[in-house]
């Protein structure tokens, strides 16, 4: 980590630049020189880059991701109890590293800002020789870093990113996502909402005014309107508004009987807390019990809303109370090391690290195009989400989606959510062409 070697590509490029005069036409792109691939590991180790938020609002999620990565690296290198490697359906990894090389890692701070995240990822690629970048806790950052990895020529294994765009409009060949998206949330939530609240409902949306919020609002609207729900209004709220009272009071007398909070992180904590304060959870409208829905739940963040989450529906990628063998093995391994259960962010990043390592092992190379081919269409099980497939067309994982509800009688401060329903994969699947975008070709650097 502390060796400051010039990356091979950098050297090639600068020598190319130095050797070629300005007048020479455009045939000299670095690509024509690249015989192998960027940051090809030559020694006994291979370097992964863990790019997570360490400062700012998502620092706790970032810290949990980092814990999971460390655990994953231990398991890949054959230390610890092996965690989900024991339950993982692919048995390519033998606990001796990847392709005979021990895994080491470098870390960086995304600050949940695109610029900082890209700078950090570039450092890992250019200075530390990272072969793969993974992590992140917001879609803007994920898309920005994914674009960077495509340009540079390394694989990006997305962390917590829920926007459709990551594997839709902005998808890239070098990028892969294990986490689910707003489309799947909509598809998974709708049947549960129908069972609990019926088909004659009027929804009022409060939506964080940026790409993810719009994406979430669109998906929920689409699926609830299919059920026969009406949408009273969809109001955009500024990111980080803090006090949402001025957006909540119009809900009171709007005639709507469901409030959908398309917020995440601190916005979610605040808007939910305040909506409950304004009596919305206990309200009666049109002779029906008023309901609040938080489409994307994060258990870590939900803790910040305290009692207010009780009985509130939402979806999540994974929850530590799941009872399948994979989840149990992961919770045990993580809990033993850190003393508390892992979050969904920790789970998805752990899976991504394992999946990447496994793909490299099966491909026998770290070359992005080779690894990508091994991931495309890869079907696996035993990582906590049941049978899962990395779809080749958009590099999105398809798996069951959890619909959860704030628990009425929590037994500990981690026991915030209970799983209401596991919506099977078939119900949340959609054609890859629906979300647009182009993967383009792999870039090997």
């Amino acid at each position: 980590m502390s060796d400051f070697k010039v990356t091979r590509r950098g050297l090639l490029k600068s020598t190319a630049a130095a050797g070629v005069a300005l007048a020479t036409p455009t045939i000299f792109s670095s690509k024509s020189f690249a015989a192998g691939y960027l940051n090809e590991p030559k020694g006994k180790t291979v370097t992964f880059g863990f790019n997570v938020p360490q400062t700012g609002a998502y620092a706790d999620e970032g810290a949990d991701e980092l814990r999971a990565y460390q655990l994953a690296v231990e398991h890949i290198n054959g230390e610890g109890d092996g965690g989900m490697l024991n339950t993982f359906s692919s048995k390519a990894l033998k606990g001796n590293g990847v392709n005979g090389k021990k895994v080491v890692f470098v870390t960086g701070d995304t600050q949940t800002k695109s610029d900082a995240a890209r700078a950090s990822a570039k450092r890992m690629i250019e200075k530390d020789g990272a072969i793969m970048i993974t992590g992140g806790s917001s879609s803007g950052v994920a898309i920005a870093v994914q674009g960077l990895c495509q340009e540079a020529g390394v694989i990006f294994m997305a962390g917590l990113t829920h926007s459709n765009d990551t594997t839709g409009k902005d998808k890239r060949a070098n990028g892969f996502r294990h986490f689910f998206n707003t489309e799947m949330t909509g598809a998974a939530l709708a049947p549960v909402l129908k069972n609990s609240f019926g088909t004659d409902r009027t929804a009022y949306h409060l939506t964080a005014d940026y790409t993810w919020g719009w994406s979430q609002e669109g998906s929920i609207k689409k699926y609830t309107e299919k059920l026969g729900w009406k949408t009273a209004s969809a109001v955009r709220t500024p990111l980080g508004a803090g006090d949402f009272s001025q957006y909540i009071t119009p809900v009171l007398n709007s005639g709507a009987d469901v409030l959908v909070l398309n917020h995440y992180g601190r916005d979610m904590v605040n808007s939910l807390t305040q909506a409950v304060q304004f009596g919305l959870r206990d309200k009666q409208v049109n002779g029906k019990d008023f309901a609040i829905v938080v489409p994307l739940y994060s258990r870590l963040m939900a803790q910040g809303a305290g009692e207010n989450v009780k009985g509130i529906f939402g979806s999540t990628n994974w929850h530590w109370s799941l009872q399948d063998e994979g989840s149990k093995a992961f919770v045990k391994s993580f809990g033993k090391k850190y003393g508390f259960p892992p979050s969904q962010a920790a789970h998805t990043t752990y899976c991504q690290a394992i999946l990447y390592a496994d793909a490299c092992q099966r491909a026998g190379t770290f070359m992005p195009s080779g690894v990508g081919a091994a991931l495309e269409g890869f079907k696996f099980d035993g990582l906590g989400n049941g049978p899962t497939e990395y779809r080749a067309e958009d590099h999105q994982c398809f798996k069951d989606v959890l619909v959860v509800k704030g628990k009425e009688n929590p037994t500990s401060k981690f026991d915030v959510l209970e799983v209401v329903e596991v919506t099977p994969r078939a119900q949340v699947e959609y054609p890859a062409s629906m979300l647009g975008g182009e993967l383009g070709p792999y870039n090997n650097g």
């Binding site: 007398n253 304060q277 963040m301 259960p341």
Partner: protein, 342 residues
């Protein structure tokens, strides 16, 4: 009509918080001539007084139950707060009322923090350029923030209001509306009344006590007061402490509305500066007026009817008002000539 009334209430509530933070900031401006970028951090520290009190009250007696185990194999812990073990029902009530109880703790603590800050750092910067004051207080704000983060983590920590105040108050009936049309959360009404009370107390203190008179004279002309042989510095130390207490109380009482996290001070920092400047630098009345004005206008700008005409207006309304006020009234609503213009 009821919708507008509710928005006015929202605005007054928000405005109460703005006014409280801005009040301390403008007192520091006016008396010490210091641009205090750590003021948001004081607000945040106030909020964490509540967190700490609740955490201390909630220190639990841990008994291990060997018959049950966690998913990772450790024995299940059964936790009961000591206050409940010791005091029974009174302990439960105390826990429930942790936020109001925190006020009693926050006052001396914030006063102490303010005095230490002024004596330890701020007083060396009275004569330094504003840019340096900004840099040093901003650095201090970051340091305070990071210390809080390393102790409490980055995620928001819920601080519920006492059960009694968790409900809604329906006072629309009294104003001639149908029942259920104008209902408002009890805690928010309490926050508004609380902010009015604190503002009144600060004004009364400055207006009717000798100490306050000296401070006001010092705000008007520091040199002269110094020449009268009054030890203005010592009084200004206490003034800084009072400003810290006001900001801290604003934070403590705000916690049930906004779950506190280490970063909340920075979010309020820019806003409170805008409030102070719109009100007029160093003007106490201006800060209060501007706080409520911005709160109410922000609420109105967020109404669907307004946003339909001007999309995104709620995103920029605060800044737009600041620009308009400063262009129309060069020294803000109630600013005096020559303060902070160089």
């Amino acid at each position: 009509m009821d919708a507008i009334l509710l928005q006015v209430l929202n605005g007054l509530d928000k405005g109460g918080a703005y006014a409280l933070i801005a009040l301390g900031l403008t007192i520091i401006f006016g008396t010490l001539g210091v641009v205090n970028f750590a003021h948001g951090a004081l607000f945040m520290l106030g909020a964490f007084c509540a967190v700490t009190v609740k955490a201390l009250l909630g220190i639990t007696k841990v008994t291990l139950d060997p018959t049950q185990t966690t998913p990772w194999g450790a024995p299940m812990e059964i936790r009961q707060p000591y206050v409940e073990v010791w005091f029974g029902d009174f302990g439960t009530t105390l826990l429930d009322y942790s936020v109001p109880v925190s006020i009693l703790v926050a006052i001396p603590i914030m006063l102490l923090i303010g005095i230490v800050m002024e004596r330890g750092l701020i007083r060396f910067f009275y004569k330094r350029p504003h840019a340096e004051q900004i840099l040093v207080t901003f650095g201090l704000a970051i340091v305070i923030q990071e210390i809080v983060k390393s102790n409490f983590g980055a995620n928001p920590i819920p601080q519920p209001a006492p059960d009694m105040f968790n409900g809604m108050i329906d006072f629309g009936v009294a104003l001639g509306f149908d029942a259920g049309n104008v209902v408002y959360p009890a805690w928010r009404l309490i926050y508004f009344l609380f902010s009015v009370g604190v503002i009144a107390a600060v004004f009364a203190f400055l207006q009717f006590t000798t100490f306050g008179m000296v401070v006001r004279a010092g705000m008007a002309d520091r040199e002269t007061v110094g020449l009268l042989g009054i030890d203005i510095d010592r009084r200004f130390t206490i003034v800084f402490g009072i400003a810290a207490v006001v900001a801290g109380l604003a934070g403590t009482m705000y916690t049930p509305i906004l779950s506190p996290d280490y970063h909340m001070g920075m979010d309020f920092l820019v806003l409170s500066f805008v409030v102070v400047v719109v009100g007029g630098m160093g003007s106490l009345g201006g800060a209060v007026a501007a706080g409520f004005l911005l709160g109410v206008l922000q609420s109105f700008a967020s109404m669907n009817e307004v946003k339909a005409i001007l999309p995104g207006i709620d995103q920029i309304i605060i800044y737009l008002i600041a620009v308009v006020v400063l262009l129309v009234r060069p020294r803000g609503l109630m600013g005096r000539r020559g303060v902070m213009e160089q």
